[in-house]
């Protein structure tokens, strides 16, 4: 009879707290539609790994190692960065670089909006050793796979907290960005119209672009070459015109499959003894700092450019450089329309948004160059 409740007696309050956290993540995913593809598996995984002697994770029972399926998946797909990199092929296949190629100058805002990463690195270094600080700062890349790869390569102890922060804040972009944009811009600036001139982008440009970006990024930040290379490979499949079936598979089946495993596998790092620490709260706070300063960096840089530019730029589009594709681009467009329904910023903001995706990967590569 004792065998039926023996395990129940080993339940600790910290594990129950983790169930509650898992439940909150599932609630946010289902009820609030916040990054459900990742928050739901992470939430369920958090419950799964926080059962006493959970068979889902590797445990030492009576001196013998009993391997758990999630730990095996972690070693096979995250410890070696395979899952996030493969996911990048799917993301690359989803991205249309057209608006960016039509107006390449927009890319500069993607670069400016990485300011939050480096600012957070400085702040985090006051509390953590420099490698952990760098891994935490990369939450500001607003890009899950980049955060996983950088945190894993830098052997951060806080992978679970970093992932939860990265994906939660990505989902919260529509809540985090608007007040900061409003705070940093005047109504007059938000009303600036930016007519979109439709420019033809040749197929050759679309094909050469991913190849050239890979070569440049690889030469300058070799540590980023796998990240940017997989992203651009996915885009090349999309743009070459002869691999439509592969492109579709990468965008849908491949991306979905990896996403299922990625979310639930990350949860192995959410065991109560590793996750319930004061550092986790601090990491969540620092992630928010990164998102706020990314947004501010993009907006303020656009305002700076406006000091010299003849054709004024709506500084709100700078905020879309945060990455978090395509949410951030849409947020800026909606804010523009709220100020003036005739103001159509979507093509510009999506262009900046896509450039943020490239810039955040390069930022990840530079961070790895510095510290790995």
């Amino acid at each position: 009879m004792e065998i039926l409740y023996e395990n129940l007696l080993k339940l600790e309050w910290q594990q129950i707290v983790m169930w509650a956290i898992g439940g909150i993540l599932i609630y946010l995913a289902i009820k609030k539609d916040m990054e459900p593809t990742l928050l739901l598996p992470i939430g369920f995984g958090a419950i799964l790994v926080n059962l006493p002697f959970s068979g889902a994770v590797t445990q030492i029972v009576d001196g013998a190692v009993e391997e758990g399926a999630l730990s095996v998946l972690f070693d096979a797909g995250i410890a070696n960065e395979l899952f996030p990199l493969i996911l990048f092929i799917g993301i690359g296949a989803m991205i249309d670089f057209g608006p960016l190629l039509a107006n390449p100058k927009l890319m500069i805002f993607g670069a400016a909006a990485q300011f939050g990463i480096f600012f957070t690195l400085c702040v985090a270094s006051m509390f953590f050793d420099i490698n952990d600080a760098a891994a935490i700062a990369i939450i500001g890349a607003a890009d899950g796979p980049t955060s996983i790869v950088v945190a894993q390569k830098l052997m951060s102890k806080y992978l679970g907290a970093i992932m939860v922060a990265a994906y939660s804040y990505m989902a919260l972009v529509p809540i985090i960005q608007p007040p900061i944009i409003k705070l940093l811009t005047t109504k007059k600036e938000r009303l600036i119209r930016m007519p979109y001139e439709q420019k033809e982008v040749s197929k050759l440009t679309r094909i050469l672009f991913p190849i050239i970006i890979t070569v440049i990024a690889g030469l300058i930040a070799p540590a980023s070459v796998s990240l940017i290379g997989f992203l651009m490979f996915g885009n090349l499949i999309r743009e070459c015109g002869v691999l439509n079936s592969l492109s579709e598979t990468a965008q849908k089946v491949l991306a979905n499959l990896i996403t299922i495993f990625l979310g639930i596998t990350i949860a192995t790092k959410m065991q109560a003894d590793q996750f319930l620490k004061p550092e986790t709260l601090l990491i969540l706070g620092l992630g928010l700092v990164a998102f706020i300063f990314d947004t501010a960096g993009g907006v303020l840089f656009a305002k700076f450019i406006n000091l010299f530019a003849k054709k004024k730029i709506n500084p709100m589009i700078g905020a879309a450089g945060i990455s978090a594709f395509p949410m951030s681009g849409r947020v800026v467009h909606k804010m523009g329309q709220a100020e003036d329904p005739q103001n159509f910023l979507l093509m510009h903001s999506i262009g900046v948004n896509v450039s943020g995706q490239i810039a955040s990967v390069i930022a990840g590569g530079l961070i790895l160059n510095f510290f790995s």
């Binding site: 390449p104 990463i117 400085c122 509390f127 033809e200 450039s355 490239i358 510095f370």
Partner: protein
């Protein structure tokens, strides 16, 4: 976890080099993309004129 306020100043170097690095890389990418657009657009213009002839 300890608090070392001086580390903020020490890390400013990475902020400077990092932002400069990103700006440089993106600057190079912008330059190449502009060039690529010009070259490929000229080519397609030529092809179009030849087709019309």
């Amino acid at each position: 976890m300890n608090f070392h306020p001086g580390a903020f100043i020490d890390s400013l170097y990475y902020m400077g080099v990092g932002m400069l690095g990103i700006m440089l890389v993106i600057g190079v990418i912008i330059g190449i993309t502009v060039l690529l657009n010009k070259i490929t657009n000229k080519k397609s213009d030529k092809e179009q004129t030849q087709n019309h002839e």
